[in-house]
Amino acid sequence: MQKKLQVEAIEQGSVIDHIPAHQGVKILKFFKFTQTNEKITIGLNLATKSGESKDLIKIENTFFNDKQANQLALFAPNATINQIKDFKVVNKFKVQLPSSFIDVLSCPNSNCISHNEPVQSRFYVKQKKTLKLKCHYCEKSFNRATFDELD
């Protein structure tokens, strides 16, 4: 029964699997899925074979482009995205942390020039293991937890 709930098929859309526990709701918020009318199934704190908990999101009629897949890595660096068409997985890929994030995050440094000027924010991945991002403009580095958007 539990297994059936986790993998219940959707006709067309995306299944994001291997999301670390407690990140699922943040992902819904970040991608504004909380405002969509598409059918969403979300599983929180699901058991895995390794004993760790995970979250899972299934969303109908929605596909991730490359930019969104990269953004997903901010929350779930080991997630997989399954693209479903006619109830079948037509494509499955792992998200990958890109080398930079453009126009995704706002600089946590309130004195950074990027805030009130006609430019896109840009952050470079400085450290992958415990994610650290460096602002292109103010050159300061920030831990992932510093970004309000990711909460």
Partner: protein, 311 residues
């Protein structure tokens, strides 16, 4: 031979390679020995100080004029339309740079020079952006070390004072890490070198050690780089108790190496006693003067493709 810095921006010391730094220092040395009073004839340089900085502005404008160029600009952001009419920095620099051949700027916000460089077609030189970078200070420090030690490699260099908030020491340590120097960081615990610098040095396998007084290491040093411990960061009792460990006087220099030079970005308050001024080790006023040559070198390299430094 084309020079690799022609028409480039100087925004952050981290953008410069070891060979770029060496080219700048050789050029500064050449210009100090062989002045070039007509090199920038007919060139107009914008000197834009969105935040006041008398010393940096005068040094830079002297450098322009010593090379025969002309300066336009302003010395405080409060008088600009940017401040009065709410114009974006991007718009301001687009307009100003259309008048000038290069653009030198200081701004109170971090990242301002990088942003400005994206909206201009002429070279931008960062004269300080908030608490971030001040690359021309680093270049004049490097030039002074190069001039006094005849090399930058394998030197014993101590940084003293406020190592936490002083962007000068951060940039200089980063630049010198390209030259395999040995660092001694001498500061109160509350003002220690920040973790990101320590991590960078560790990644590059640079040798460094932490100390709480100058006398622990002074006899081993080639360069003693002093900075001010700001009184306002401590309560009065704590400050009085702690500051003596970070003050330098002539008596502490009795057994130092002959080639030791004491540097300071200035202004000093009391961290270097005036009795040090008359020792052969004091070099901070020559260091300030070297700012003019370091800035001349940048202007020469950014604005003339075929300028050859004479050895």
């Amino acid at each position: 031979m084309n020079n690799p810095l022609y028409q480039k921006n100087i925004i952050s010391i981290a953008d410069l390679s070891r060979s770029d730094l060496e080219l700048i220092l050789e050029t500064a040395h050449s210009l100090k020995q062989n002045p070039q009073p007509t090199l920038l004839n007919n060139k107009v340089i914008a000197s834009c100080f969105f935040e006041a900085s008398t010393r940096t502005r005068l040094s830079f404008e002297t450098a322009v004029q010593r090379l025969g160029g002309s300066v336009i600009g302003f010395d405080s952001g409060g008088n600009t339309s940017l401040a009065q009419k709410g114009e974006t920095l991007a718009d301001s620099v687009k307009v100003i740079s259309s008048y000038a051949d290069a653009f030198f700027m200081r701004h109170p916000q971090e990242g301002a020079a990088r942003l400005a460089s994206e909206f201009t077609s002429v070279p931008v030189i960062n004269g300080g952006d908030g608490s971030n970078q001040h690359p021309t200070q680093t270049l004049l420090d490097l030039f002074t070390i190069y001039e006094t030690q005849a090399r930058l490699d394998n030197l014993n260099i101590a940084f003293v004072g406020d190592l936490k908030y002083g962007r000068t020491v951060h940039s200089l340590a980063q630049a010198l890490s390209l030259f395999n120097c040995n660092f001694y960081f001498i500061s109160p615990e509350a003002l220690a070198m920040p973790d990101y610098i320590i991590e960078e040095l560790t990644e590059r396998d640079i040798s460094f050690s932490l100390h709480t007084s100058i006398e622990e290491v002074v006899d081993e040093l080639d360069v003693l780089y002093m900075t001010r411990v700001q009184k306002e960061r401590f309560d009065e009792t704590e400050y009085q108790h702690m500051k003596s460990a970070f003050l330098l006087n002539a008596g502490m220099l009795k057994n130092v190496k002959d080639n030791l030079k004491v540097l300071h970005p200035l202004p000093r308050i009391d961290e270097i006693n005036q009795d040090v001024d008359n020792t052969p080790y004091a070099y901070y006023f020559q260091q300030a003067q070297n700012g003019v040559f370091a800035r001349q070198a940048l202007l020469a390299l950014l604005l003339t493709n075929h300028f050859q430094a004479k050895p």
